[in-house]
């Protein structure tokens, strides 16, 4: 029983953590390039609605996912234009992007609120996991094999891919350079502005994917503001992850589990939440409070290990300006 309960929580964490993982990875990439985009929440909503509407219209969830990514990418260019070309304040621009995304989706999403029969992304069973002796039937199969959506596996593959891109390739080398010291990159001919545009766009693609994985797989519905702050949690997770994709994976799954925890705890008979549903409100605070806790933890760690954000994060690059 105990094991089954634990596995249940972990499985749910992996599932509900997947949109968070995409959003976190996207923001991580954007921030590594030196641009802070606080509009993740808005981009996720845009992706969620675009994916939902297109999947519903075409009957094909994959077309929905593609359009969702593009929609997230395109809307992110607003932020890119204001923060890179116009050198505007990145904090406020990101906020504006969240407002626009939230408002836009609530306007355009009105016709979809009642839709229930959207084509979903499929669950991808992995039967051979069951055949692994000892841990197969009791652990691996229920965790990864039985009901994980295909989107979960995409998330699993993306983490090493993003890590490889950042740490082992020439484009990744340039990505890190424009986030740490754009003047050095510029001096050897790296086009800082264009690359920053590109990585803001990539962040948008990921946020769009995060939105679509919500509306087409995890909770296959369209509801206004259905992200419920996950975009903001993703921004926090990037800090928690210390800008490292592997730690982003860990953080996203933990927070996925925390999002589910209220439901799981309410199901336990001997806890007061089962008999008194109003107490469940306190449980709903868990993911938000833990985000703050995670930041406290990671800032202490950052001070201890002298880790930090990319040095040029949030600073517009202007050629010839001192200290850039």
């Amino acid at each position: 029983m105990e094991l089954a309960f634990l596995i249940n929580i972990i499985e749910a964490g992996l599932r509900t953590g997947t949109p968070l993982l995409f959003a976190t990875l996207g923001e991580l990439i954007t921030e590594r390039a030196g641009v802070l985009n606080l509009g993740v929440e808005g981009m996720m909503l845009v992706g969620a609605l675009a994916g939902f509407a297109v999947a519903y219209g075409t009957g094909n969830p994959w077309i929905g996912v593609l359009v969702a990514m593009l929609a997230g990418g395109v809307i992110s260019l607003l932020h890119a234009f204001v923060s890179i070309t116009l050198r505007g304040d990145q904090v406020v621009s990101g906020l504006a992007l969240t407002f626009v995304g939230t408002g836009l989706t609530s306007v355009l999403g009105a016709p979809y609120v009642q839709v229930r029969d959207v084509p979903r992304l499929p669950v991808l069973p992995v039967p051979f996991l069951y055949d692994i002796p000892l841990i197969g039937p009791s652990i691996l199969w229920p965790l990864f094999g039985e009901k994980q959506n295909v989107i979960f596996f995409i998330g699993l593959l993306l983490v090493p891919a993003v890590w490889f891109w950042i740490e082992r390739t020439r484009p990744g080398l340039q990505l890190r350079a424009i986030g740490e010291k754009p003047a050095a990159a510029d001096a050897v001919g790296v086009n800082v502005g264009a690359l920053r545009y590109f990585y803001v766009f990539v962040g948008g693609l990921f946020a769009g994917l995060a939105g679509a994985s919500l509306s087409l797989a995890i909770t296959p519905l369209w509801i206004n503001e259905m992200t419920a702050g996950q975009g903001w949690i993703a921004v926090g997770l990037v800090i928690f992850a210390g800008w490292n994709p592997w730690r982003a994976l860990m953080g996203a799954y933990i927070f996925g589990a925390l999002r589910r925890l209220p439901l799981d705890l309410q199901a336990i008979a001997w806890l007061p939440f089962a008999s008194n549903p109003i107490l469940g409100v306190w449980l709903n605070m868990i993911p938000y409070l833990f985000t703050i806790l995670a930041l406290v933890f990671s800032s202490r760690e950052a001070i201890r290990k002298r880790l930090g954000a990319p040095a040029a994060l949030g600073i517009p690059y202007v050629r010839g300006e001192r200290g850039a």
């Binding site: 350079a177 050095a184 001096a187 790296v190």
Partner: protein, 519 residues
């Protein structure tokens, strides 16, 4: 002009670099005015001029960072128009900037290939590091390929910069003030490297405002003054005096005139102080030093040996892990910065824009940074704005800060004027102790002279001055005694005697010297 820049070309041999009629304007500034400049292949050509004479601007046009408003640039006889540093690199032009263009968190190898076309995608780090090791062997520039830049000394970082340019296939190498941050021994090594490079067919443009080294290294020298070419002379036959006259337009005083010091009681006592740097590593190690009223104590040393941390510990901006700091008899160790300010300590930080001033605030606001708390400026909860303004206008007049008005944001002041503003603020409080860190770095000769004079005047008024500098000329000229800082410890003390420059250099590199010269 002594040589016609076109003479060689008429013989059919194109110059490595030729600039014709170059003009470059910035908002409010004419940086280069109809400049003609030519460099022969395989020579070391010094570009000499004061700070602000337009040397860097001129070279940034060769490097593709700026584009000329007028004029023509020829490389090996071919007219070129670079629109970015990438173009310059592709055409064999590399520039080593004064502030190194290296990514601190990346390794030597990564920095070297950042601008390369290969490898196109996957980076095989093992192979890469082997290649870089071979390359550094080949050019005799020893560096550790997988060391992170921030772990390297300044001299090593410069080697990485040079290596980076060579790796990118630079034939023409522009060095912007390369010796400013090096010990005398490192300068010797650098000059050896540069000569070896010209022997292998490289051409070097050497930007400098230091006469000694120009005379030592340059084959030919072009002197810039106020954006115009003053003359091009032969490096072997010229003299320091001639160059100085060309550079400044008048005879220069090489040493500031000052009376002998008259030190009295101890104004600042640093008693067995240790501290950590920003990375949590030991910086100052059991350092003791006394500065008396009425003397200038110079601190020599290569940047990064604890200078910044020393100044910060004294000013109350960094925790001492042990020991005591005593200002005017008052123990201020690990007290808030206000404690030292109230004890009459003035601090001129190394970073004028980043620490010493608030760039978007106006000059009046910047002038009350230290005095807003107490009367007469601070009155209870409020600030006397009328007095702030009156005082600002008076200080700007008195300290000769050139500005249209006191409402100008500080960031729009030139370096020299900003430094005068900071000195005005600090000195107007009649400090008992002054900590001055690199007070004239990057300033032109006029500003240097007036700032040095202000410091000497303060000494004569009775302030104890701790002067931290990486410029030995400045230290020798201002100090009454010089101590050398190496790895957070004082390794020796010498009188300010020009003949001891080699000894100081050795100590800066960490050699303990018998304190026979101690005063």
């Amino acid at each position: 002009m002594k040589n016609s820049p076109y003479a060689l070309e008429m013989q059919g041999v194109p110059y490595a670099l030729e600039m014709r009629g170059i003009t470059k304007r910035f908002p409010g500034v004419l940086a280069n005015d109809n400049v003609n400049f030519a460099v022969k292949r395989g020579e070391i050509h010094a570009l000499l001029g004061e700070n602000g004479a337009g040397k860097s601007t001129l070279m940034n046009m060769v490097n593709g960072l700026y584009r000329p408003d007028e004029g023509q640039i020829l490389l090996d006889g071919k007219s070129i128009k670079f629109s970015s540093p990438r173009d310059a690199i592709d055409n064999g032009v590399g520039m080593v900037h004064q502030h190194f263009m290296l990514v601190p968190t990346q390794t030597v190898s990564e920095n070297l290939i950042l601008g390369q076309k290969t490898p196109r995608f996957y980076i095989n780090y093992k192979k890469l590091e082997q290649d870089i090791a071979d390359l550094s062997q080949k050019f005799g520039l020893a560096v550790e390929p997988n060391a992170k830049i921030w772990q390297l000394s300044v001299g090593e970082q410069q080697r990485v910069e040079i290596l980076k340019m060579l790796y990118q296939g630079a034939k023409l190498l522009i060095m912007d003030e390369p010796t400013a941050v090096l010990t005398p021994q490192e300068v010797t090594d650098l000059f050896k490297t540069l000569r070896e490079m010209t022997a292998t067919g490289h051409t070097i443009i050497f930007i400098s405002h230091k006469l000694d080294e120009v005379v030592e290294i340059a084959d030919r020298v072009t002197v810039l003054r106020r954006g115009r070419v003053e003359s091009t002379v032969d490096g072997k036959s010229t003299s320091k005096a001639e160059l100085a006259r060309l550079m400044v337009g008048r005879e220069v005083l090489f040493r500031i005139q000052k009376k002998p010091a008259n030190p009295t009681a101890a104004a600042l006592v640093i008693d067995h102080v240790s501290c950590e740097n920003d990375r949590g590593l030991p910086s100052l190690r059991d350092l003791s030093l006394t500065v008396r009223s009425g003397e200038v104590v110079g601190i020599a040393g290569v940047a990064g040996n604890g200078q910044t941390e020393l100044a910060q510990v004294i000013a109350g901006l960094r925790q001492a892990t042990s020991g005591a700091v005593i200002v005017q008899g008052q123990n201020v160790t690990n007290q808030p910065a206000t404690a030292t300010i109230d004890q009459g300590l003035a601090y001129i930080p190394a970073d004028r824009n980043g620490v010493g001033s608030s760039p978007n605030l106006n000059l009046a606001d910047n002038l009350i940074l230290k005095s807003y708390r107490q009367p007469p400026i601070g009155q209870g909860w409020r600030i006397d704005l009328r007095l702030v303004r009156a005082q600002a206008e008076q200080l700007i007049e008195q300290f000769d800060v050139k500005t249209p008005n006191v409402d100008l944001p500080a960031r729009l002041l030139s370096g020299g004027n900003l430094q005068k503003l900071i000195l005005a603020r600090e000195i107007s409080r009649q400090p008992k102790v002054i900590i001055a860190v690199y007070p004239v770095r990057g300033l032109d000769v006029g500003a240097i002279e007036s700032i040095h004079q202000m410091l000497i005047d303060e000494r004569d008024r009775g302030a104890g001055i701790l002067l931290i500098s990486e410029d030995l000329d400045e230290l020798l000229s201002l100090s009454d005694r010089i101590v050398v800082l190496f790895e957070g410890q004082i390794v020796g003390e010498v009188p300010p005697d020009d003949d001891l420059i080699n000894e100081i250099g050795l100590m800066m590199a960490g050699t303990k010297v018998e304190q026979s010269h101690a005063t």
